[in-house]
């Protein structure tokens, strides 16, 4: 039993060490980005454009539900005018970056793990090595850069749409009934550029986590089709976990 616990702890340290080593190698290859533009753009398109419709839909409903729940409660005390501030701050600081990142982790991170994992299983990674092409430069670096750029861009859309959805519900719902100009006024009063930057910084870190976990899990895939399935699940679980942990520490740092 004790040896099992020790082995488990050692495994965690090994995984952390391997992830750090892979991350440093990926950063090292950032200097090679110019000649990998086609691959980086392809990945950006996959992460950004491919995820945009579902991000917009998600953000719209999150903003609407947030306004509905909070606005209804505030209306009991007659303070519903501040709903613009609440929706704006929630979307910029927490819901926009976190929910969008979870969506990208589920949609793109898992696909990255599956794709790189399949390449590992079907000897494509070995083929890259025999062609003297470092798989970290060819596969991990473009994905990391793409996520670092595309996830914050998606979050900008999520914030705009979420705030708009909240404003729409606040105005239309008879119980809340906050005019659009009042909603907008409170929103602008409570938000400043620094808050928006902090939200986008979080999104950048989460984007990095998603790409890095997807590639790491993909590279570690073994065991055929079943292994690819397990890697997909593992990448989603690990990304979610790291996003939540990073979110706490980033929030604490930015307070």
């Amino acid at each position: 039993m004790l040896s099992l616990i020790v082995k488990r702890i050692l495994d965690i340290f090994q995984t952390a060490g391997e992830m750090l080593f892979l991350f440093l190698r990926t950063l090292y290859y950032f200097k090679e980005a110019p000649r990998n533009f086609p691959s980086i753009f392809r990945q950006m398109s996959e992460v950004g454009i491919g995820t945009l419709p579902i991000t917009i839909l998600m953000a719209l409903f999150i903003g609407m539900v947030l306004a509905l729940q909070t606005g209804s409660a505030l209306a009991l005390y007659g303070t519903q005018e501040v709903i613009g501030s609440i929706v704006g701050l929630s979307m910029v600081k927490e819901l926009g970056p976190v929910m969008t990142s979870l969506l990208v982790a589920g949609r793109v991170g898992s696909a990255m793990a599956a794709e790189v994992g399949a390449m590992q299983i079907y000897e494509e990674i070995d083929a890259l090595k025999t062609l003297e092409i470092d798989p970290v430069r060819y596969l991990a670096m473009p994905r990391l850069i793409a996520c670092l750029v595309a996830v914050p861009a998606l979050v900008v859309f999520a914030i705009i749409v979420g705030v708009a959805g909240g404003g729409m519900v606040s105005h239309v719902n008879m119980k809340i009934n906050v005019p659009i100009n009042v909603y907008y006024e409170k929103l602008v009063q409570s938000l400043d550029y620094l808050e928006i930057l902090k939200g986008l910084l979080k999104a950048t870190v989460f984007g990095g986590i998603i790409a890095h976990v997807g590639c790491y899990v993909g590279f570690k895939t073994t065991g055929g089709a079943r292994g690819i399935g397990e890697s997909t699940t593992r990448s989603v679980v690990l990304s979610f976990l790291l996003i939540f942990v990073a979110n706490y520490f980033l929030t604490r740092l930015m307070l």
Partner: protein, 288 residues
């Protein structure tokens, strides 16, 4: 006026598509000086041992393959033939023993990459083509990634290598549109694009029908006549190995049990070799 499609030799759009690996305005030389030169290299394995989770797969394997030779390693599945091949291309490190290519100990000396004086490539059992790339992009991958030549010359080389494997004009095909035999031939063309001095084939006839296997054998024989390289083939297809090889080695769970020319292997009295030959050529039931 600058023509962006035909700027320089390959056009600015081509450079954007394949990344800015070369100068933007087409001042690159055709190919780097040592690309065209190719020479067969000798391979020597000395007492290679390898275990996986306590399973001793390779036991004191020693082999000597001469420059320019076509050498086949035959034997039943699970005897470590592919693992042995992966040692030669540095995908797996031995627990003990030494491997010399062109006189250099590949695990003792630091890998000099492109400057090591010889090039090797491997054709994988699964072909290992990149699905996201076209046939032409697969074949030209190494050339583009290593910035070996300018784009015009790369396209010429892709066409030349595809012609060598009888796939002329298939540059724009997706890999999903190819049959198993065509995939193998694209994988060979991709390896040949490196102008290798040593080429290794891992089970080249696996999953291929006899007719396609025969076509592949003729492609490899044609290459041997046209290109000066050392060829190492791992296969359990005895007829394929007998047809192609200058020399062969038979491997079983105990290691290398026999080395010789195809005629010597066929005439061998070693029980392991006889058993392998018998099981692959026993003919119709009741007529033995």
């Amino acid at each position: 006026m600058m023509n962006f499609r035909q700027n320089g030799k390959e056009g600015l759009l081509g450079r954007i598509k394949h990344g800015f690996g070369t100068s933007l305005f087409g001042h690159d030389q055709d190919c780097s000086a040592n690309y065209e030169a190719s020479h067969g290299v000798g391979v020597r394995l000395e007492k290679i041992n390898k275990s996986f989770s306590g399973n001793h797969v390779l036991k004191d394997i020693s082999l000597d393959i001469a420059p320019g030779e076509t050498f086949s390693i035959i034997g039943p599945s699970g005897t470590g033939k592919s693992v042995l091949l992966k040692h030669i291309v540095r995908l797996v490190q031995p627990d003990s023993g030494r491997i010399f290519i062109d006189g250099h100990d590949i695990y003792d000396e630091p890998d000099k990459g492109e400057n090591r004086g010889y090039r090797y490539s491997m054709v994988f059992q699964s072909s290992a083509l990149f699905n996201s790339l076209t046939v032409g992009e697969n074949v030209g991958l190494w050339l583009r990634e290593k910035r070996i030549c300018n784009e015009t010359r790369i396209r010429e080389i892709i066409a030349e290598k595809l012609e060598l494997v009888n796939l002329r004009g298939k540059e724009d095909f997706r890999t999903s549109e190819l049959s198993g035999g065509m995939k193998k031939r694209v994988a060979i063309a991709r390896s040949l694009a490196m102008n290798p001095d040593l080429i290794l084939y891992d089970e080249p006839t696996a999953e291929l029908d006899p007719v396609t296997s025969d076509e592949l054998a003729r492609v490899i024989l044609d290459l041997k006549a046209k290109v000066n390289l050392t060829t190492v083939i791992v296969t359990h297809d005895l007829n394929f190995a007998l047809y192609l090889s200058d020399r062969m080695a038979m491997m079983n769970g105990d290691g290398i049990v026999e080395v010789g020319t195809p005629a010597q292997i066929k005439a061998s009295q070693n029980p392991a070799v006889r058993g392998f030959i018998y099981t692959t050529t026993k003919g119709i039931k009741g007529e033995e």
